[in-house]
Amino acid sequence: KKNTIYPPPPIWAFLLGVLKRQALKQSAGDQGLFTSLYTSLAQQLPREPMEWRRTYGRAPKMIHLEANFVQFKEELLPKEGNKALLTFPFLHIYWTDCCDTEAYKSAVKEDMTRWQSSLRTHGSADWVIIVVETNDTKKKNKTNILPRSSIVDKIRSDFCNKQNDRCVVLSDPLKDSSRSQESWNSLLLKLRTLLLMSFTKNLGRFEDDMRTLREKRTQPGWSFCEYFMVQEELAFVFEMLQQFEDALVQYDELDALFTQYVLNFGAGDTANWLGSFCAPVRSWSGLLLRRPIDMEKRDGIQRGEASLLDLRSYLFSRQCTLLIFLLRPWEVTQRALELLHNCVQELRLLEVSVLEGALDCWVFLSCLEVLHRIEGCCDPAQLAANCSHTVGLWAYATDKLKSLGELCGLVSEKGPTSEDLNRTVDLLAGLGDERPETVSSLQSPYKKLKEALSSVEAFERHYLELSHAAMEMYRAIGRLRSARLVGKSLAEFYMRKGDPERAETFLQEALKSYTSEGWSLPVTHTRKQIAECQKLLGRTEDYLQTSALLAGDVNLTTEERKHFCQEILTFAGKSEDQSPKATLSMAVFAQLTRLQFRPATASVHSGAVLQAELTLRCLMPVSVHIQQLAVSVHFDLERAGTNGRSKGAPRQTNPGTVEFSQAHPSAGPASSSAAGPPLELDEIEDRSPTDNSLNSTGVVCKNTHLVMRCHDSASPPDTPNCVSPPSVTVKDDGQMLKVQDVTLEPGNNSIVFTAPPGTYTLRQLYATVGQVQFVLPHIYPSVQYEVYSQEPQLTVEPLSEPLLAGLPQMVKFTLLTGHYAVKKGDALQLSNTDTMPVLPSASCTARINSPLVGESSLFIQSSEKVTSISLPATPPYHTLEFHLEVLCVIPHGCDRPANERLTNGEVRHRPRSYSHPDTPMTMSIDCPWSIYSTLLALTFYIPFKTKHTLLSAGNRKYIQVCVQNMSDVNFTLAEVQLAEKQQATLELQSLNTKTQQLLCSKHSVFCLWEVRWKDDLPSCLQCIFSANFSPPKQDVSTFKPFHYQFQLERFIFIFYILTLYSVRAEILPPASEQHCRSGFLCGLEVCITRLTEPTEGEAAEDSKTDADGLKTTKLMYEVADSSSNWAVCGKSSGMVSMPMAADATHKVQIEVMPLFAGHLPFPKIKVLKYLPHTAAVAIQPDPDSCVENDSLSLLDKVLDDQGDTASIRSRGSVHSVGSGDQQQQKGVAMPRLEPFAAGQVFNHSHTQQVLVLPATDDHIMEVNAT
């Protein structure tokens, strides 16, 4: 058995104890007994946990105590100031199996006393005396020996005053009996308790001492290394107790303390002890994590000779060990990365001189060491799942290896130089020898580094392995950006190795990510690298494309941009045979920002010039000469017919201008990431084959497959910014707008194209620079323009609406020449008609507009049949205008046109006032550009409406002609005449006095003729009314004739039955008065007299024979006052039976009351025929419509009102026959009323007036005075 275990065993440290085997030593024969006791004691002691209550409020813990037993030696007792905790004797045990009082007294007691005193001198109060009893000894001494208890009692009384628990009896330890087991258990419990007590006490004291020591750290002479050893002691103890957490805390505290000192050093607060850590680094062998405790380094620290890296390495190795105990391997990796970064920083801070590359070696080895250590304690699945924790170390190691490779000339194409080799040797020297732990392993970090630095090939192999591992891990955990960054670094490596092909793949991938996320600076940088690759690879088109992008990149300096621009121009300048034309995307070269059409409608006829002005923003840094700039256009068949409507984008604010929105290059990928590849859109229109009307219209996306694909895969979409733009397809439609030799300056340039005829959609834009062609594959929004051709068109329209017949009227001829050029001598041939002659005028001028070009006179020649108008020479697409005076002859009579349709088939809305027939006139014109005659319609309106009426007064007959002016102008009417056509024996005597009369607009003039006749009357009378009219205040010569022809049918009949009855009314004032007074009743006497004998017609009609034998007819009279002057009192209507004989008279008395004073017209008296129900319906004499209308209107009025016959109707205008009347009207069999024809009843008192005096002034005013 060793006395001390120092250093502690690798994993399980044993608590040291001091075993006092004095008694056993004394009795040499019993040594075997103790050996057997010791084994079971050491085994059983840690079996049961103890609750460990701790100071400073720390949570109690259950711990297992283990002990190491060492034979007591005086020199093993800790001396004053000893800080070692590991070798501290926590409990002193005195073993004795003495049962003999004499022996006790003579030897054992003395020995115990000595032992006690030496303990006391060393201040140790933790002891216990164990008395072992065996049956053998008992038996042997049974007879003459004192009871064994007496020995124990003696010991207790001698040594354990008041501490009875310090003496324990163990009985029969070697027997397997329940008694001995019980005694064992109590012994163990006792030992544990005492041990823990001592442990707690000593540990507390140790911690206090440690703190005191730490507080002295500001004092000079304080050494971190010393303190380190002290606190580590504590950590060891905790580790022994398996309190790894607490152990780790000790190391973390040390770590923090050291870090703080380094930081303070950085801040200028230098501690002396730090000097040893500032020594130049001589060894960079990396971390060593395979040993639990790196004694080599520990010794170095203890001696104060450790370098910073040594200290850090040792500290981390301990932390790592504890963390792995704690099953937190991922914290190890995290801490490792922090440590490595930190060490590099600290060395820099402390200004420690390090060989260049040495730290890289150290970091590389350390990274791999940590990774190996972690791999050693985790299974592969666990490792794979926790890539995120290890990947940082992998990437760091890769990084370091790369910089080492660069340092040692292993990356260059040529291989290392001698200088590089020297450096390599120096670096390898600092690694020292390989540690014994890893000598056997094939893949140790040491071997890897050594191998990698030994040759170019080995380096490449190791570097690639690491890079790929790091990239794959990054990918696996979804850190794609980091993976791409590693890839980019790899690409740089390949570029150095002269392998641009592999490099490009990585660069492209990285670029895609930067582009899609809009990081312009990395984009530019990566693109520059790609350009280099592509140049080396000889991929001309790609290189040019990239160059174009770079030339337009604002992140680069002007020199760089010029360089790339020159690259393109140099290529472009090569002769044609060597290489095929390179087609590049326009977007990188120039941007189409604006398209402006002149004129703005984007639609002109083929004669005019349509210009399209393109604004191109050139992105190149220098001005570029372009051989040809072309816009390919697509001919639109469908639209060819629709003349001239602008089809620009609907959202344009400026007519004729289309703004092309561009994603600003620096504005980020907001637009590009969302948009995907640009849509290729084409418009479709579906027109009905029959009438060309639009059935449906829509937009077709031609590259759906591309767009959809982009949405399916998550890869960022291609944008114009991308290195390899979508392959540019040149659509060769054959139609191009071209401009030769343009120089594009940086910035905005405007280029003007002139458009050929047709309807075209702009599709693509090309710019050719020598061998390079830039193509803008789609112009979107799509822009269309139209250059159309137009047929000549002649229109005739009135100069002023409406055209009036009978007067000379001006009409306007408008000729749109369209594509036809009117030559000199071309003439319009108008076929003459009788009804509408063209009035020749001497001075007639034509205006040529487009806009106004000029005026020239017009020559009009009229022959019998044709009027020829010679036109002045007019260029195409101009308007020729001239005025011509025409006259429409007013047709005689009132023959109405068959229908209102005009000859051109169009229903023309007549002005409302012209409710009478209008006169459509058709002109037939022969035009020089067509073999067909052009038919044009004009509608004339007759200004007058004429009616005739036959009137009778008594026996006299009159013909009245009413001329109503329907037009909006006034006329003077003169020489009004009425003539009878057939030279009948009629005399028409004019009663018109005025020779000229003004006929205002919308007014009427009545003309009257008395008809005097001899015996024989014609059955039908045809009359012609004629008058001359002219606009007012004009010369007599301008008067135009107006004729109105009419026919009076059944003339005789009318004449003979005329005036059957005369009605005479008289107002009789009240008896006492001379005059009527308002408000007083007067009498109205109506006297109806039959004037004629009954005619044959009447006889056959409705008559019934009276009792006298005379034929009677029934009449109905009615007094009605329409002007509210009279109140009819009592009966206002009544029935009269009239004998059908001449001079038969009937008088009716009616009471009326005047309501106002003054000359009042008589109330109206109407007489109507009363037809009994039996009577056949009489055929009414109906000479013309006017009469008919009048009589009917009366009837209507009667029907309108349904008042009571008998009532006084002071204000009622019409007296109704009664309610029964209506029914009578409805049924055929009912009696009904029928008015007389005009003239059959002559009212003598028509329009007669009577004087009515005001009522007497007998108004009484009552005044009450009080």
Partner: protein, 142 residues
């Protein structure tokens, strides 16, 4: 304090990025861009666990030998990244937090500007001033 300050849009394109003029700007662009990996990782991890009650400050995204990269994400998923020199040890977590908070406030002001269209790069002078303030202090402490 900071050597590089970046504001990154929800869609991960930079709204604002400024670094100390003395150092290689490109390097910071790469660093900040790469840090988005960790930002996304942290956002998704936080999103799962805490729902809407999440902490805007993401803490140290990742350390490199020379720099420490800290992240912060607003509720509208706009990311702030501050890169600090590793040698600058005077900065504590709290100070970084307060820098982010200051940055966030200023960013909010920028967003409130009716003339600023969200999604465009930040051109605000006030914001620039705040950022400069955070970077100027670097010069005095380092």
């Amino acid at each position: 304090m900071a050597v590089c300050i970046a504001v990154i849009a929800k869609e991960n394109y930079p709204l604002y990025i400024r670094s100390v003029p003395t150092q290689n700007e490109l390097k910071f662009h790469y660093t900040v861009h790469t840090s988005l990996d960790v930002v996304e990782e942290k956002i998704s991890a936080v999103g799962k666990s805490l729902g809407d009650q999440r902490e805007l400050y993401l803490g140290l995204l990742y350390p490199t030998e020379d720099y420490k990269v800290y992240g912060y994400v607003t509720n509208s998923k706009v990311k702030f990244v501050i890169v600090v020199d590793s040698s600058n040890t005077s900065l504590r977590d709290n100070e970084i937090r307060s820098m982010f908070r200051k940055l966030h406030n200023s960013f909010t002001d920028v967003m409130c500007n009716p003339f600023h269209s969200p999604g465009n790069t930040i051109q605000s002078k006030a914001f620039d001033g705040i950022v400069s303030g955070m970077m100027v202090q670097t010069a005095s402490t380092v």
